[in-house]
Amino acid sequence: MAKVTQIRVGAPAVVPPFDADDGRNPGTKFDPAPVRDVRINRSAIERRAATMGTRRTVKKDWQAAWLVHAVKTIDLTTLSGDDTVGTVKRLCTKARQPIRQQLLADLGLADLKLHTGAVCVYHTFVKTAVEALEGSGIPVAAVSTGFPAGLTPFPQKIEEIKASVKDGASEIDIVISRGHVLTGNWRGLYDEVKAFRDACGPAHMKAIIATGELGTLKNIGRASIVCMQAGSDFIKTSTGKEPTNATIGGSLVMVRAIRQYYEQTGHKVGFKPAGGIRSAKQALEWLILMKEELGDEWMQPHLFRIGASALVNDIERQLEHYAYGRYASMQYQSLG
């Protein structure tokens, strides 16, 4: 616990990962009415999603600034079966220095202490990451509760959360039981996520609803609402392990649910798309989505994260092109 506090204190002042405990979503009682009232028209959602990136764009200086900003929102992630202490440490150095200092200087951002929004790992590597990031102010997020399928026994899920928090994770990315959604057991889903939230204690909880496994956009909307009622600080699209990753359409449903929940309760819940977001252009599309549907505050790391690994490198390439006017090569960019 002490370690968690320490990380917060040490965080640079630009925008803290989270405001403070009282800025968190405390959740509400289980309320089936807004769940029942969800209306999602898939075709209309798809039309809006398809034009999200064609109605808005950022170019030149604005594009560079937005891309630098995107780096701040990245949960730099490694969730592979072959992860080792070595690869996790390497990732952490990338999180501390996602864009090389010279390039930042050439962009006029020499003083910007740029780092990613967090580092996201399996429980096994929480300690490694916490140590590697010590003093950087970068939080460590742990995927949990039987990630990715979420089918381990419930008591073990709770234990897993507690263990990660104990090891120093200040953010926990839980997975929901898709079965609750698919069978309409909203009460069950609420109780499960609420229990996870309680287990998280001071750590912030991101609820992965696994959009690719919920069957319909309507289910995405309903699951989002229940997870927010149960006190999720973030709702997150995917584990990255489902056949369908984050989509703008599914995200649109989720961010609109966030807006509705905010209008109804006054609590701000963050959004994290994850899975398949590899290009700078995609990152901009999601930022546009946040700006258009939720507003500027929801573009900031305390309310917006992108779960990604290779994305940083593509952003760096685009920034190089912007700064130097020529196309970049990967050999000039540090591996994560």
């Binding site: 999602i40 209309a44 808005r56 170019k59 604005w62």
Partner: protein, 841 residues
Amino acid sequence: MKVAQILKTLEYGPAPEAAKPALDWIAEHDGKFGIFINGKWRDPSSKEWFDSINPSNNKKLARVAQASKKDVDDAVKAARAAFKGWSSTPGHIRARYLYAIARQVQKHSRLFAVLETMDNGKPIRETRDIDIPLVARHFYHHAGWAQLADTEMRDYQPLGVVGQIIPWNFPLLMLSWKIAPALAMGNTVVLKPAELTSLTALLFAEICASVGLPAGVVNFVTGDGKTGAAIVEHAGIDKIAFTGSTEVGRIIRRATAGTGKKLSLELGGKSPFIVFDDADLDSAVEGVVDAIWFNQGQVCCAGSRLLVQEGVAEKVYKKLRARMEKMRLGDPLDKGIDIGAIVDTNQLKQIQDKVARGVEEGATLMQPSWANALPAGGCYFPPTVLTNVGPASSVVQQEIFGPVLAAMTFRTPEEAVKLANNTRYGLAATIWSEDINLALDIATQIKAGTVWINSTNLLDAAAGFGGYRESGFGREGGKEGLYEYAKPLHADASLLSPLRGREAGREGAAKHKTLTSTAISSTKALKTPANSAFSTSAKTPKSPVPAQAGTQFALNSVPVDRTAKLFIGGKQTRPDGGLSINIYGPNKNLIGEVGAGNRKDIRNAVEAARAAANGWAKATAHNRAQVIYFMAENLAARAVEFANRLMHQTGCTKANADSEVEASISALFTAAAWADKYDGRIHGTPYRNVTLAMNEPMGVVGMLMPDDHPLLALATLAGTALAMGNTMVVVPSPKHPLTATDLYQVLETSDVPHGTFNIVTGDRDELAKTLSEHDDVDSVWYFDNSAGSSEGQTAVQKASAGNMKRTWVLGLTGATGALPSVDEVLREATQVKNVWVPYGA
């Protein structure tokens, strides 16, 4: 440094599309354009040019030619000269040209998009992603129709030279809607772009030249309303296609009345946008963006009247306010702009005035916080919602043609329909609900040519687009649109020979004769020598020959006096004026009297027809067919009586009279048969949806009957209209009205619902005028026996401009084949409504 600054605010910043390609193209022409006639560019004979202005900065873009009457005349001559060659060009070759045009449009799409945006003021996002792709799509689609014309339209032929006048809101798109089907069907074209936005049409002319389109097939004359008028009035033009305001459409209707020019009009609208409380409200609000803030609201089918269910109204307004705030207005060439410039200062002023008037009338103005900080130097108007308005408000009644939404509430589905239809227009409608049961119910009740469910402003070449009511007539797109550019190859000669196949006289005459005998022997009324008479007629259909005086038929006793009355609302009624008209036979002998119906009788008949319209249209097709079969049955039972009447009135031979009765019974069978077979279509539009093209009845049809074949005309025309679900006010032939007055006894015994079939005898042309002027009549069919056009036809079409009702006027001469084909009657009896139903779990 700048990046560091932006990092704090995360603003969008400018993202301009380069104007250079368009400016270069204009510069290549020294900023001045001629007209394109017979494949060549030339100066206008007026030697006058006018400026084309970029409305985003009010700066001059180029000089455009003012084509004169003489130029129009030259263009028509060139088109006429090219017609023979083009119309006889094989469909496949025409398809290749259209395909090439589509390709060229795609290849130069960015230039077209930028030029359109600069000339019109609409955002580059729209020209790039919507206008220009739809243009290419329209030519691809119609390349397909050209390819298939020889088979799919084999009974039709091109019209000739087509004059087309298009508006400024979708300059190139409207051009494609006009030119593609015209060329596909083998017509040649004289087109005038809107004076405010001529440039993309001129670039398009270059494409026509570059693909080697034969000279004269498409001619472009630029200019103002005078040039348009010269096209409308030109005697050498066979059809006028116009898209624009209802006001100008009305002028064109009057100007072309009685000229025989075919006419299609796509006019104004005040389309309802209905949001039910079970809708996906966020998506519905996004729909509003696409409905009224698309193209600055300068869209004829814009959803400009928001009807929202009362319980969710405040919620929706709140969402609208928030959404409006996020809209970005500014330089249309900026890729991140939603709302560009209004087309010119004049249009801007009209919008400002109309909104100001709305506010004076008590409307509450809702605009984004930035509404007072519009860019200087251009024609800009902010997105606007007006609440606290009602159907009586001017902003609800009038088309504003700007980014202005008038918002009202309703309580029940029934009320939503009532409010939606409470308008002079009928172009489009939008319905938002997650309940398909509800949405489709509303869709069928709205009077509009296009209904979008849970979507809006979806347009595609494969679906017909066009209006009901004062929004005009004719369809553009889809197969239904092709008929606007084609006419029947030959009149259907089969009507008088009901037992012959449609491929008349081809083969199997003997077989048909057998059929004939069978059919006739089973008909009680025709045990007479009618058999041979019938066969004769079937072989050589021709005008009935007046009978020798009294040789065929004679009264052999003193007849009981019969009083032929009017038939209104299912009742035999005496004429309002209490006057009768003498009816004479072929030998000037008095054979009876009919009531002299007047305008009040017409008023009553229309009222009865209107009252019956909804019920009859909703009756199942099977049900309607049963009624019409029953009519045929009862007519057959009285065959001798009707044949005698025909002889008595027209002096025709008994053989011909019998044959006409038989043909009429058959025509009623045909009408009944079609009742449940004149299917709509499902168009292959490129969305995940079903686009249902439904044939709906016209509504109340006024029918002025021809003199020839009084019974057959009634059976064919009225029978078919009835089968399609219309109700009617029939004015029988003034020469032979007694057949019609006899018919009401058949109607009375055939379960024909009261009010569906009304008969008013009297002075045909006088009653025609009353019917044509009547605002509650949806269509007027006028047939007389002139060889071509007549005063009566002219009067009908002129008067129809009042409510822009459809008209169908024909001079039916004595030739038996002159009655229109059933195909045509079916089409005139219906209007196509396209209902877009997207789906997705």
